[in-house]
């Protein structure tokens, strides 16, 4: 097998020193002639090696009839006490798997030097697997259903985000929940897993990723020797790519007065992964950041919105996000509110603060947002060393655009107040919103009342 191209993106350290670890954390990407991509970040000081395969097909590659099938593959590989898990435990390997909207990752964590063993394990138990036996399928389905039920009953914040996607991107691929629903997962049959794998799990769709203590050249050699995926022609691969997703202002309400709080998420259409404004949107979200009422330090943050919230305890917590996908994105916030008679105030004051992004955001607020975004991106660097799935998500979804932190930091530093105002003027001011709420949401005002808060008559 021949390597066709080798791209090396050197990573520069921001630290005041150079030396021993100068080569650490450098992203290297090699494309093999069979279409398989190998990406790694080598950190010789790391105590572990993480190797995985990431497919650029997540829940958007499913359809309403086989929704949840990726979740079944992830459950098969990464959860519970299945035969795969037992086999891994015997070899001293830790497995994990997760499904995102546009990718899914299967990773193995091992001691340094065991990378090739981990790769062999992946090949034997996942890549070479075309289908599950009926009994294995039943066990996997049972575990997945139990996890889904647990998720529906207790993880309200995430549940609301899933519903937010479902309403914001209704009738397009991004609307499908990553885990599937109880109904769809229950109706799946072994054949669904097999046909999904046949359609999506091929070399052109796959990236082998590694982080931690794995040298790139050795990884490439091991991949060439051990990994074989079914190669699919380019035309057939293109045919299986999901349709375009689009945003629609709308709402979904899951009122349940037996729950102790209200969980609400509200968003406008955000930036796509390839958008030139990706970082602008991320900085804008970081300006409002996140808040936890129970943490004293969180209450002291320099977020103007907190002045309004704290006096009447309008929210227990909130977090602003900028999520990006292939064609579109979501920019907004999620909040948990136990003072349920204050929901209308919480939404009103938050949206009034969003208005300020277009008209009166200050330099200090911008600098704060930039610094916290840089901290977040820097921390992600460290987390990636232990989990190749995170590198996979960056490479597959963002094309590795933001992996060179030094360069990304320069771009963040270059943003000005007028960039933020311009972005907010186009994307936020007087734009349609998508809303999802669960729990005690009687006081969540009607759609138009909230939509009207997206602009104001004075400035």
């Amino acid at each position: 097998m021949l390597r066709t191209t080798t791209a090396r993106l050197a990573r520069r350290s921001l630290a005041t020193h150079a030396g021993a670890a100068a080569s650490a954390g450098r992203l290297e990407i090699t494309e093999l002639s069979n279409g398989l991509t190998v990406a790694s970040e080598h950190n010789p000081a790391a105590a572990t090696a993480s190797v995985g395969v990431v497919y650029s097909a997540g829940s958007t590659a499913e359809n309403p009839y086989n929704n949840g099938v990726s979740n079944l593959w992830a459950t098969y590989f990464g959860h519970g006490s299945s035969a795969v898990q037992a086999a891994a435990a015997k070899q001293g390997l830790r497995l994990s798997a997760n499904v995102a909207r546009e990718s899914q990752a299967f990773t193995v964590q091992a001691l340094p030097g065991d990378a090739s063993k981990a790769l062999g394990f992946l090949q034997q138990h996942l890549l070479a697997k075309e289908s599950l036996s009926d009994s294995d399928f039943a066990a996997v389905q049972k575990t997945a259903l139990a996890q889904l039920e647990e998720f529906e009953d207790s993880n309200h914040a995430e549940r609301v985000l899933e519903h937010l996607h479902a309403t914001a991107f209704q009738n397009t691929p991004l609307a499908l929940p990553t885990r599937g629903t109880l109904e769809t997962v229950e109706s799946l049959i072994p054949q669904d897993m097999q046909s999904f794998a046949a359609q999506q799990f091929h070399a052109k769709n796959a990236t082998v990723v590694a982080t931690g203590n794995v040298a790139h050249d050795e990884l490439v050699k091991a991949v060439e020797a051990q990994v074989s995926l079914n190669a699919k022609s380019g035309a057939a691969a293109a045919a299986s790519a999901p349709a375009k997703s689009s945003f629609l202002g709308s709402e979904v309400r899951l009122r349940d007065d037996t729950l102790p709080s209200a969980w609400i998420s509200l968003a406008v259409e955000g930036e796509s992964q390839t958008s030139p404004d990706y970082l602008t949107a991320a900085v804008a979200a970081s300006i409002f950041g996140s808040y936890v009422a129970a943490e004293p330090a969180s209450r002291l943050q320099g977020i103007k919105l907190l002045d309004d919230i704290q006096e009447y305890h309008l929210a227990d917590s909130f977090v602003h996000y900028s999520k990006s996908y292939r064609d579109t994105g979501l920019w907004g916030f999620s909040t948990q509110i136990s003072n349920v008679s204050g929901i209308d105030d919480m939404i009103h004051f938050t949206l009034k603060q969003w208005n300020r992004l277009s008209i009166s955001i200050t330099d200090t607020e911008l600098e704060r947002g930039k610094a916290l975004l840089k901290l977040k991106l820097g921390n992600a660097n460290i987390q990636r060393a232990a989990d190749a799935a995170l590198l996979g998500a960056e490479v597959v979804q963002n094309g590795g655009r933001y992996l060179n932190t030094a360069e990304t930091f320069k771009k963040i530093d270059a943003l000005t107040v007028s960039d933020i105002k311009k972005w907010a003027g186009n994307r936020l001011w007087d734009q349609d919103i998508a809303i999802a709420g669960a729990g005690q949401i009687e006081d969540l005002l009607d759609y138009m009342r909230m939509r009207n808060d997206m602009s104001m008559m004075r400035w």
């Binding site: 630290a15 020193h17 000081a45 001691l111 840089k374 820097g378 660097n381 232990a386």
Partner: protein
Amino acid sequence: MLSAARTLPQRAVRRYTVVASAAAAAAPTATLAVRVHGGARYADKDGLAHLLSRFNFQSTGDKSALRLVRESELLGGALRSSVDREYITLQATFLKESLPYYVNAIASVLYKTSFKPHELVESVGPAAAYDLAVATSDPVKVAEDALYAATYRSAGLGRPVLFDGVEQVTLDDIKQYANKVYTQENIEIFATGVEERDLKRFVGESLINTLPKGSAIKEAAAPKAFAGEVRVRAHGPNVAAVAIPAESAAQIPELQVLKAYLASPLYANADALERVAFDSFSGTHGLLSMYVKGADASAVSANIKKVVADLKAGLDIAPAKELAQVDAALAAQQSAVPVEQLALDKVAKFKLGKFAYSAVGDVTQLPYRDEL
């Protein structure tokens, strides 16, 4: 900046440890952790260590809590203080170039926190109460505290970690405790992603170098472990839990491997266990705990009996050695403070000896220790 201009005389012998690791040298962020032997086991009153930990990063002689938060967020950093049975840990994660700022921030917390009376009432008290509310709503956490109480009784390790108001703690108590534990002999400084030379220089120039001298209060000898039982009536899910004490350093690797074994599919009844944990103290003693949880008390009873029967019959845990090593390596990689290396050569079979037991929930329906 800040401390660079100040020239304090360098001591020939530093009494505290300073360890830097360049493991994440290429990353733009660094972590600084100051570990104080001042956890719950060393406090004379229950919950004192928790309140002191919550007082960290409040106002100091140099700056108010508000100013610290506002400066820190502009520099791109986050501060956190946590407490467990052994340590109070002050941790900062930040963009590398701000290392001197965070060394000084933590130093002034250790050296001159103001302990203002209103902060105890307005910030520290409510935050501590919240921590307690979160912990008591989790029956596994309640069972864990019960296991420690059953094993170590009222000796240090048997005390609860979180402040619950059962024992009165005053501001003066907190101040005195801070004076006792925040001494040169009692702290260790760790950092990842920075040069050891830089770290030592900044620490040497900071207030940490002028911290009062005291005595190391670290307890290295293993306390007496009892085969006790504690039962807590509570609403919600039922938990039955078993703790196995390590009373010597030699037992620690065995219990580390047992933990990895019980939590993996290598163990046939792994599904029955909600959580398996091992806490090691000073490398000389420790406690392994395992929890069975469920809404149905009879299923919980059956499962805990099954697990204890397996342990009593003896388990071949050798196959989990490598898994224990991976777990230790992963933990070391995620942590700013060093994790002990395992010497697993001698580990082969495990047979249950002394153990403590706790039950939380509908305890009428849950088994007693002597029924296991």
